[in-house]
């Protein structure tokens, strides 16, 4: 994935989060996570990614 591909995904995510609204964005992102996991097709890899996403999560406080 090129930097500009990543940027396109980043922008589309931002727009979709806005479109579904704050009350539904968690639901939306969780659905997306499941869809992405199925595409990846490797449960162990997905679980590692979950751990990576947890890293530094408190830094945003």
């Amino acid at each position: 994935m090129t930097p500009s591909d990543l940027e396109r995904v980043y922008g589309a995510l931002a727009e979709h989060i806005d479109a579904v609204g704050p009350a539904k964005s968690e639901l939306f992102l969780s659905k997306l996570a499941l869809l992405t996991a199925r595409e990846i097709g490797d449960a162990r890899r997905v679980l590692t990614l979950l751990d990576e996403a947890r890293l530094n999560i408190d830094a945003a406080d």
Binding site: P3, L6, E7, Y10, G11, L13, A14, E15, H16, I17, D18, A19, P22, S25, E52, A53, L55, N56, I57, A59, A60
Partner: protein, 539 residues
């Protein structure tokens, strides 16, 4: 603004000159070929560009001195070439601080370090930092020794009426008022352009939410010339801060105001001092510092629909206002001035068709719209406009702490010169090339021995070829022919074959290129680039 007790031009490091209004009143109403309204960096660059082509101008500056603050401080590589072409580059190279590196931080941790494109083939660095009043000083030093430019300070243009052959300006200065006729007018009178208002024209576009205070401080801070961006720092939660080094130990600190933050309060000297102290603590500086100057801005993307109104051309901020994130306000304005100067001169001298002037808006407004697209992306990261962009921005920053790839989403889009691909005077790019720079782009530079390709260019058009026989077959007025070796680095950079040719305009943009050139094609390419005037050898 400046600290209490100091006047508008009472700087810690810069001595402002004082310019009087014209004392000799006899010839004030003599017609001028070109009137330039505004004597800032854009107006002066236009005047020098015209003078370079042998065209006389009268320039009106409303104030008795230069801009009172440091304001625009980043000069892009392309602007250095403009200063070189107008004979003013030397002092810039001596004083300005060149830089290539930027660092971004999130919560005190570095998440990105980026390098702007640079190499030994380049004559200039990608960016230079220099306070605007030095930029004006260095341009003024060139203006004042040029006999083709007459500058009238403390002179305000109060009306601009069309006449059959031009524009009649009404000018007011401390001694009185008078009218002056000009064949053409360049409106370089800034973001609050009075000419624009007088002509009933309006800037259109968007205003963004983010407001920034920009403060200059003087301090012996030991850090290289690297642009720092602090996202969501401890000292200002939710805000973005930019830090730039300037000459004379001056540091620019831009910090974003929170949504509800009162502007008047934020601009109080005490508030500014406290905010600066907090930023300096954040970056680990605990030494002495002095406050020099501060101001406030918000991010806008606004432009005129047409940069031309009859015989008036808008250049610089009078035509467009862009967010500062991409450092394109000043640089874009300089390119406007450089673009219109040669075109006006060539039309006035009968060397080009009138239609050449109609290429100004598509080329330069196109550049502005390109800036808007990039600046909008930057603005979305720096000051997320909605919750969605905020959520994603925070996610990218947080992820960047462990995964550097996400840090690249924080990469600011710096100035890259615009390619005039859709210009009416640029020949459609030759698809036979498999690289190089396309028609409409700025000519890339390359080392040729101890000098650069740009050092070999002519004063007007230049034709770069790689074949002696082709060079001998070309004899066009105002076209300098440069023959390069097919094995040279320049040939490689231009992806040129043995019979290729690049036709380069006076403003260093590529008018046309041919992978397999013929003298006939080159001749018609030149005719296209000067809007239909057939040029014959005067011999």
């Amino acid at each position: 603004m400046r600290p209490a007790g100091r006047g508008d031009t009472d700087s810690l490091y810069f001595t402002y000159p004082h310019f009087d209004a014209p004392a000799d009143r006899d010839a004030l109403s003599n017609p001028a070929p070109i009137a330039i309204v505004g004597a800032g960096p854009i107006g002066m660059t236009a005047a020098l560009g015209l003078a370079r082509e042998g065209v006389r101008s009268v320039m009106f500056g409303a104030k008795p001195t230069f801009n009172e603050g440091s304001r625009a401080i980043c000069i892009a590589r392309s602007s250095l070439y403009i200063f070189e072409r107008i004979g003013a580059v030397a002092p810039f190279l001596e004083k300005a601080l060149g830089w290539t590196t930027g660092r971004s931080f999130y919560r005190g941790s570095q998440i990105l370090e980026f390098e702007m494109p640079d190499s030994a083939q380049e004559k200039y660095r990608p960016m230079y930092n220099l306070q605007q009043q030095y930029i004006e000083q260095f341009l003024w030093d060139a203006v004042k020794r040029n006999p083709l430019i007459e500058t009238r300070w403390q002179s305000t243009v109060e009306a601009a009426e069309d006449t059959p052959g031009g524009v009649r300006l009404k000018v007011q200065d401390p001694h009185g008022s008078y009218t002056i006729d000009a064949a053409y007018v360049l409106a370089a009178d800034g973001a609050r352009s009075q000419i624009r208002k007088m002509r009933g024209l309006r800037l259109k576009g968007e205003n963004y939410e983010g407001r920034y205070v920009i403060a200059d401080v003087q301090m012996p801070h030991d850090y290289p010339t690297i642009r720092r961006a602090l996202f969501d720092p401890d000292c200002r939660r939710g805000a973005t801060i930019l830090i730039h080094k300037q000459p004379d130990n001056i540091w620019r600190i831009d910090y974003q105001l929170a949504d509800g933050e009162d502007e008047a309060h934020a601009m109080n000297e005490g508030t500014v001092r406290a905010s600066v102290t907090a930023v300096l603590t954040e970056i680990g500086y605990d030494g002495e510092w002095e406050l020099e100057w501060w101001s406030i801005y918000s991010a806008n993307t606004l432009a005129l629909d047409d940069y031309r109104d009859g015989r008036i051309f808008f250049i610089g901020d009078s035509a467009h206002i862009v967010p500062i994130f991409g450092v394109r306000g000043l640089n874009n304005g300089l390119a406007d001035a450089h673009n219109i100067a040669w075109k006006l001169a060539w039309v006035m001298q009968g060397k080009a068709g009138e239609a050449l002037l109609d290429s100004y808006t598509p080329e330069r407004r196109g550049a502005t719209l390109d800036v808007f697209a990039n600046a909008t992306k930057s603005a979305r990261f720096m000051t997320p406009p909605t919750r969605g962009w905020q959520v994603m921005r925070d996610a990218a920053l947080n992820l960047a702490l462990s995964h550097p790839f996400a840090g690249h989403l924080a990469n600011p889009r710096q100035m890259t010169p615009y390619t005039y691909a859709d210009s009416p005077i640029v020949v459609e790019d030759d698809a036979s090339f498999s690289g190089g720079a396309p028609a409409g782009a700025i000519l890339p530079d390359a080392l040729i021995g101890d000098a650069h390709l740009s050092d070999h260019l002519g004063d007007a058009f230049s034709l770069i070829v790689f074949d002696q026989a082709l060079a001998k077959a070309i004899d066009l007025p105002d076209v300098a022919v440069i023959v390069l070796d097919t094995g040279s680095k320049a040939a490689k950079i231009l992806s040129a074959g043995p019979s290729s040719a690049y036709l380069v305009r006076p403003d260093l943009h590529i008018a046309a290129r041919w992978f397999e050139a013929t003298p006939e094609a080159i001749k018609s390419g030149l005719t296209h680039a000067i809007a239909g005037v057939e040029r014959h050898d005067p011999k």
